[in-house]
Symmetry: C2
Subunit: 231 residues, 2 copies
C-alpha cells in the first residue's frame, strides 16, 4: 500500500478484496464448467451440456463487473506501484478466466455431436487431463489471492503434464482415425476437446505470469518448466 491515510488504506483494501473475491467466484465457475463438460461428455448428457453453454453468460457478466470495479478503483483511489499492478492483474486475469469458461462452453457444444464417442479409447484420458488443467487454474487463482509468486511458478511447472497428455491423445486419435474412418468426425471433435484442455493449461500459465508480475514487479522470463507450446 502506498497511501499514508488509514482511511484511504482501508477503502483500497476493501476494494481490492472485492476484486479478488470476484476473480475467485469466476474461477470457481470456470472450474465447475470444465468438470461438468467432462461429465456430460462421458455420460452423453446433452441437457447438462446445454446448461453449461447457458451458464457461461454468468462468467461474461462477472468479467464486465470486474472490469467496471477495477476501472472505478483506479479512477477513485489512484493506486500506485504494487497496488496498481494488482488491480491491472485482476483486470487481465478476469479476461483469461472468461476465456477458460469459453473452452468449457466449446467442449459442451460438442457433446451432442459425440454420441458414439464412448467407443473411442482416448476419451477415457480426457477427464484426467481436465483434472490437471483445472487444478492448475484453481491453484494459480489461489496464488493471485495470496500474492504468492513462487506458487505461480509451481503452476507453470505442471503445464508439461497437460502437454504430454495432449501429445499422447493426439497420436492415439490419429491412429483411431486411420483404423476407423467411419468414425472420423467423432475423432476430429475429440481432437478439438483435447486441444481446448491443452489451452486451459496454457491459460493457467498465462495467469501465473500475471500473478508473478503483480507480486514482484518483474516478468517471469525463462521460468522453470517453460515448454514450447505444442503446435
Amino acid at each position: 500500500m502506498q497511501q499514508a491515510s488509514g482511511h484511504t488504506l482501508k477503502a483500497f483494501d476493501e476494494d481490492i478484496e472485492r476484486l479478488r473475491a470476484l476473480i475467485s467466484q469466476m474461477g470457481g465457475l470456470a472450474e465447475h464448467a470444465i468438470g461438468e463438460a467432462m461429465r456430460c461428455l462421458i455420460q452423453r448428457d446433452t441437457e447438462g451440456a446445454a446448461r453449461i453453454v447457458l451458464d457461461d453468460k454468468k462468467l461474461d457478466a462477472l468479467e464486465i463487473e470486474t472490469e467496471r470495479r477495477a476501472v472505478q478503483l483506479i479512477a477513485l483511489r489512484a493506486p500506485m506501484a504494487g497496488d496498481l499492478r494488482d488491480v491491472v492483474a485482476a483486470l487481465k486475469i478476469s479476461g483469461v478466466v472468461e476465456r477458460i469458461g469459453d473452452y468449457a462452453k466449446n467442449i459442451a457444444k460438442r457433446v451432442p455431436l459425440l454420441e458414439n464417442a464412448a467407443k473411442i479409447e482416448p476419451i477415457s484420458l480426457l477427464p484426467e487431463m481436465a483434472r490437471i488443467a483445472t487444478e492448475m487454474v484453481h491453484d494459480v487463482l489461489d496464488a493471485f489471492i495470496e500474492r504468492d509468486a513462487q506458487a505461480a511458478v509451481r503452476v507453470c511447472e505442471r503445464d508439461q503434464a497437460v502437454d504430454d497428455f495432449y501429445d499422447s491423445i493426439f497420436r492415439t486419435l490419429l491412429t483411431h482415425m486411420m483404423e476407423n474412418p467411419h468414425n472420423i468426425g467423432q475423432s476430429a471433435h475429440l481432437l478439438f476437446v483435447a486441444k481446448n484442455l491443452e489451452r486451459v493449461g496454457d491459460h493457467a500459465t498465462n495467469i501465473a505470469e500475471m500473478v508473478y508480475y503483480a507480486a514482484t514487479g518483474q516478468h517471469m522470463a525463462d521460468r522453470p518448466g517453460k515448454s514450447a507450446t505444442a503446435p
Copy 2:
C-alpha cells in the same frame, strides 16, 4: 478529454497517441505474421516459418511495453471516463493482438509437419479465409484509432464469412480424411490451421466489442451479425 488544463490535455493526448501507435504497430506485425504463415504453408517455406516463430517475440515485447505505458499513463495522468476507457481498451486490445500473433506462430509451427499438404484440396481455401480474418483485424484496429463504434460493428458482421469458411473446410477435410486415411496426420494439422484462422476472426470481434465500449461507454450487446461460435 476531462482535464481543463491545456498542459495536462496535451500531455494526455500525446500519451494516448503513443499507445494508439503501439497498438497499430502490433496490429501490423500480427497481420504480416498471419499472411506470411499462409505463404510459408502454401510454398512449404520452413525457414520462413521459423522466422515467424522467432519474430513473435517482438509482439510479446510490444505488449509488455503497451501495458507499461498504459499503467504509467493511468498512474500519472489519472484519466477519467472516456479517456480511462480508452487506456483500458488499449491495455486489453494489446493482449488480444498478441494472441492473434500466437495463432500465426501456431500455424507456422505446423509448416514443417505439412510437407504433403499441397495435395489436400481445402488448403487452397485457407489463404482467402486468412485474408478476410486479417482484414477484420486491420479494420477493427483502425476503428480503435478513429474511436469509430460503427466501424467496429461492421467488423463483427464479417465474422460470419470466416465461420462459413471454417465449416466448409472442416467438412471437406473430414471427407478427405475418410478417403485418404494415409494422409490423416496432415489433414488433422490443417484442421487446426483452419481453427486458428477462425479464432483470429473471433478475436477481431472481441476487439470490436472493446472498441465499441471505449467509444460509447455501452456494451455491444446483441450486436448485428453476432453468430454462435462454431464448436
